[in-house]
Structure formats: structure tokens, C-alpha cells
């Protein structure tokens, strides 16, 4: 089943690194997933996160406020 990945962040350097890591993991492992980058503040606040970037997989917040490693993302996606 395809996963819905969302990356919440207002566009700072950290958020871009997170997007890069997630994209690489998805590409390298041929994971079926959609990646959405959410930069709108109101939308971000609906998830009630206080530190960005945050990684949301199928509407569950998995990581917030830091850049995950590739292995971490892979485990979360499996």
C-alpha cells in the first residue's frame, strides 16, 4: 500500500535536509509513497508540532525537530 509521507517545515535548512533524506530512502528502496512538503503554517499547526521539521507518515507524527538518519526513515516506512 502506498504510504502518505508529509514533511512539515517552514522552509529552513533543516527541513530541506529532512526532505532530501526521505526522498533518497524512498527512491533507493523503491518504496511506494507520496511525499508532500507542507510549508503552510496553519496546516503545520493542525498537527500540533512545536519543533520543525516533522515527519508525518500516514498521519502519524514520527519524528520532530531533528534530521533523521536514512536507516531510521527506512525502519519507519516498513
Amino acid at each position: 500500500m502506498s504510504k502518505a509521507i508529509k514533511i512539515l517545515g517552514t522552509g529552513c535548512a533543516k527541513c530541506q535536509s529532512m526532505t532530501k533524506v526521505v526522498k533518497e530512502v524512498v527512491d533507493e528502496n523503491n518504496i511506494e509513497a507520496t511525499i508532500d512538503k507542507i510549508e503552510d503554517l496553519m496546516e503545520i499547526m493542525e498537527y500540533n508540532v512545536m519543533s520543525t521539521p516533522a515527519l508525518v507518515i500516514d498521519d502519524v507524527i514520527t519524528i520532530k525537530g531533528r534530521i533523521p538518519t536514512k536507516d531510521e526513515v527506512l525502519t519507519l516506512l516498513k
Binding site: T10, A13, M50
Partner: protein
């Protein structure tokens, strides 16, 4: 404690490079090597320790604590203290602000947190110990915490809720004190350490270029500007030095880690420490990029009042230091 670094710097400059002792260039190079090694080691240690503390006190825990405890006036101090252990990224300031407001935390307490968090952060502390020594660092940290606390109390007294942007007012109306479901990551220290270590390297990577340039400029000035050079122009009796230094400092931001090494040399050459500390608080604590981000939640008037109050408090502490130190 750092003698071995001095020996190493001496050895590189005078033995390995065979430069003559006492020349401007060799002194500047010696200073550069010594300061770089010392400061990088201190930054590594401080950022790492703060990373461990923060791993156990994530921001959600802080918010829940402030939201659920009656602290009888101590909440400003608590928020300010929490600000110290929370690493600050100006891009997180808005989500953080909304999160606090939503949790029913008073505006002034939120401000106390927002002021101290960038002012007393791990990078500033690491640089401060390296450049000015433990005593000055402790003074800086304590005054940073008090500055956040007092500014927070003043801002609360001003009843600024009407100056929030409309959608934040809406959030404020629906604020509730109930505990969010917060699932703490149950990890052992061993599982946490690699993640923390990676963060440390990330932070260092971002600031090292600025620090190196700052130390290089500092090194040159150290070698070429005579001792006491600034005393003539910026001594303690010069009452407008503190406000000018503070106001110059507010717009500077991204290069804060580069500015501190330069300021250290300025102090060594005769600028009063209080004036220098006011300058540094302005650089580290307030910044234009942060103001731009806050525009999403505050009207310009509120941002102006916020920055104004903090600037005044910084100027006041600058004068205080010049009297005390």
C-alpha cells in the same frame, strides 16, 4: 587546563614553521591556532552535554509542564530556564509560539521562553567559555535568564493580546489546559547517544566556518591593534556607548558565532565588558529574520513592543555590568 594547546600552537608556529617569536604575523597565527583548537573542543563538549539534557526534556514536555502547573509567579523563571536547555532555531519560533498559546500558557511566560532560548544557547555558552572564561560565562548565563524573566513579566503587564494576528486570537480563545497525549520516546541513553552525536556534528558544521573567520579576524586584530586602543573612545564614562552597541547589534544574526571572537579581542583592547555583553546579547538574542517570521503571529506593533522591551533590558544590563565588573 588548556596549556597543552598553547604548547602545541607554540610548537607549530615557532618550531615547525620556524617563525620568529614576537612578530605581528607569528603572534596572530599563534593566537589563531590556540583559539581555534580550544573553542572547537569547548563547543563540542557544551553542545553535546546540552544535547543530552534536551533529549530528556523535549519541548512538548516543557509545554505540558508550564501548562499544567500552578507556579505562583515562578512560571516566568521556569520558562526562562527551560529556554536555556532548549536549542533554538528561529524557524521553530512560530510553531513554538502557537503551541504555547494553545496550551493556555500566558503570553508573558511564552515571551520569557522566546527571549532566553536564543540568548543563552549551547553555541553561545561554548564560545563564551572559550573566549571569556568561566566567570564571565556564568554572569552572562544568569543575566540572560533574568533578562528573559523580567522582560516576560513586563510584557505580560502590558496586556498585549489585542495585538496578536486574528487567527492567533482564535487559537487563544480555544486554548485549553488539558494534557496533550504525549508519548515520550522510551530510549536508553545508548540509543540516544548516536542521534545526539549526529545533531552535534550538524550544528558544528553550520557554525564552524563563521567561527574560523571570526577567530582569524580576531587573530589579526590581536596582533596589530595596540593594547588599550579603544579605551580612549569607548570607556565606561561614555554613557551612550552601551545603547549604540546594542542597537547596532540587533540586526546582526547569522554571523553571531563569527562576531563573538572579534568582540573578545575588542574587550582585550579596552572596550568595557558591559558594553561588549550588551552588544553580544543584541546579536544573539534579537534578530531581523526572527522578527520577519513572527509577523505571521504578531502585528508589527507587537513585534516592535517585544523588541523594544528586550532592547531596553539589554541596555540596562549593559550599564549594570559596566558598574559591577
Amino acid at each position: 587546563m588548556f596549556d597543552w594547546i598553547q604548547h602545541m600552537a607554540n610548537w607549530i608556529v615557532y618550531d615547525l614553521l620556524n617563525m620568529t617569536q614576537g612578530l605581528h604575523l607569528s603572534e596572530a597565527l599563534n593566537f589563531f591556532i590556540y583559539d581555534t583548537v580550544k573553542i572547537l573542543i569547548l563547543l563540542l563538549v557544551v553542545i553535546f552535554i546540552m544535547g543530552i539534557v534536551n533529549s530528556y526534556f523535549p519541548i512538548d514536555k516543557v509545554k505540558n509542564y508550564l501548562s499544567n502547573h500552578k507556579l505562583y509567579g515562578l512560571e516566568y523563571l521556569m520558562a526562562s530556564l527551560f529556554g536555556v536547555v532548549t536549542p533554538f532555531c528561529s524557524c521553530s519560533s512560530v510553531p513554538l509560539f502557537i503551541g504555547f498559546v494553545r496550551g493556555g500558557i500566558p503570553l508573558g511566560v511564552t515571551f520569557a521562553f522566546l527571549i532566553t532560548s536564543p540568548l543563552v544557547n549551547e553555541v553561545a555558552i561554548g564560545l563564551f567559555i572559550g573566549l571569556f572564561g568561566i566567570k564571565t560565562t556564568i554572569i552572562y548565563v544568569i543575566s540572560g535568564i533574568l533578562l528573559g524573566t523580567i522582560s516576560g513579566i513586563i510584557l505580560q503587564k502590558l496586556n498585549l493580546e489585542t495585538y496578536l494576528t486574528p487567527w492567533v486570537k482564535n487559537v487563544l480563545k480555544n486554548a485549553q489546559k488539558e494534557q496533550d497525549i504525549f508519548i515520550a520516546e522510551k530510549q536508553t541513553l545508548q540509543q540516544r547517544l548516536p542521534i545526539i552525536w549526529k545533531e552535534v556534528l550538524n550544528i558544528l558544521k553550520g557554525i564552524v566556518p563563521y567561527v574560523l573567520v571570526g577567530i582569524a579576524i580576531g587573530g589579526l586584530m590581536h596582533g596589530y591593534i595596540p593594547e588599550g586602543f579603544f579605551e580612549t573612545y569607548m570607556n565606561k564614562n561614555n554613557w551612550f556607548a552601551v545603547p549604540i552597541a546594542t542597537i547596532l547589534a540587533v540586526p546582526m544574526y547569522s554571523n553571531a558565532s563569527g562576531i563573538l571572537p572579534v568582540v573578545q579581542v575588542l574587550v582585550a583592547k579596552g572596550i568595557p565588558l558591559g558594553t561588549a555583553i550588551a552588544f553580544m546579547m543584541g546579536v544573539v538574542g534579537l534578530s531581523l529574520p526572527e522578527a520577519m517570521l513572527l509577523k505571521k503571529v504578531m502585528t508589527l506593533k507587537l513585534i516592535a513592543i517585544f523588541f523594544g522591551v528586550v532592547t531596553l533590558c539589554i541596555i540596562a544590563s549593559g550599564y549594570l555590568f559596566n558598574v559591577l565588573l
